[in-house]
Subunit: 191 residues, 2 copies
DNA sequence: GTGATGAGACAGACCTGTCTCATCACAATG
DNA sequence: CATTGTGATGAGACAGGTCTGTCTCATCAC
């Protein structure tokens, strides 16, 4: 845990990235450990030395994606000035995501579908990511509206964007983000 | 297929009901055939004589729930007069659903998470159910607004309610439906 | 020498789907 | 009423595969 920490971390990260791609495409239960290590081209013990179990790996994948998502939205909203433009930037980001050929829906929503037990670590990780996104909306809106209205609007924006992601997965990504943004505008601008 | 059709249908329906309860709680891939037939207390061959495969059973479960959902909303909206009250009745229905102790999120959304291939029959069944719900919203709104605005609003309502269902699964059912309805009101009433 | 890794056997359980055979309900017929 | 045919069903073995997780041993880099 001193000299070769770097090599170990590289392997570890490579496994996380490979597992992410497979989970996204085929789901969590449908993706076996054997498939992951074959695709990542590592030994099974390398995986089990870095992660306590498959569930542990899933949580790591989710947390890694959540951090990456946060960094992207941080970068995206730092450049813009007004709250409305920040919201718009986030919705635009989703719109671009929906158009990507490797878009398969929200990994966190999918995780919630497969791990419905609130006590399960995966469930907890998903909840944290969604609450984080809602808090982001709320912080943005708090600059231009009272706290209780910012909370209500943030909740609506979260539900709109989650619903849009679901609709986008069914093949209506373009219409989904346009209609979601139209509704979001009404919510943000109202009163 | 003449005299004992009734008994056969009973078994068939019982398997569908049992599978529904298990799929809802634990997911599709995580629920094995053995578990279903044990819970339903039928022989394995009884299941495989009524359904071509596990996937076929899943599709039957989804279609059965979709029909039941449709009937419930039909009954719910037939009694009310104005479009706004119809929408309100639907949102209230969702609010009550979120509060039920056996609420585990939307089975169709979960199915979409586990069967992401657009060519898969499960994917098709899910898409049909969601399009049906959106069309319902659209038909209701078409009575009080122009067609293109009804289409846009219906899409927003669908996304709101789907997002609310996701949030509700994470334990915020009460707040979710209140905020969703507040946003829905703005969308329906606007302009 | 030391620690990470690759390769693969292995256990024990579970998966879907097929098959056989005994049993049972029930209808038609004598 | 008694008998016989028929189709659905229960019970469970079975095949062939996959699952997670553990173990051993050789190899390789430093």
């Amino acid at each position: 845990m001193n000299t070769s920490t770097d090599a170990g971390s590289n392997k570890r990260q490579h496994i996380v990235d490979t597992a992410y791609a497979l989970f996204k495409r085929a789901g969590f239960h449908a993706t076996g450990i054997d498939r992951i290590i074959a695709e990542a081209d590592v030994a099974k013990m390398t995986m089990y030395r870095n992660f306590p179990s498959k569930d542990g790996l899933i949580v790591e994948v989710l947390n890694h994606r959540a951090r990456r998502f946060d960094r992207q939205l941080d970068r995206l909203t730092q450049g813009t000035a007004t709250p409305e433009r920040k919201i718009r930037a986030i919705f635009d980001w989703y719109g671009r995501w929906f158009q990507r050929p490797d878009f398969h829906g929200c990994l966190f929503a999918h995780a919630l579908a497969e791990f419905g037990d609130p006590a399960h670590p995966v469930f907890v990780a998903v909840t944290a990511q969604k609450q984080n996104l809602q808090r982001r909306f709320q912080d943005i809106l708090a600059a231009v509206m009272p706290k209780n209205r910012a909370e209500r609007s943030a909740a609506a924006l979260l539900m709109l964007i989650e619903g849009a992601t679901l609709v986008a997965q069914m093949g209506q990504g373009d219409r989904a983000i346009r209609h979601a943004w139209a509704a979001a505008q009404q919510i943000v601008e109202s009163r």
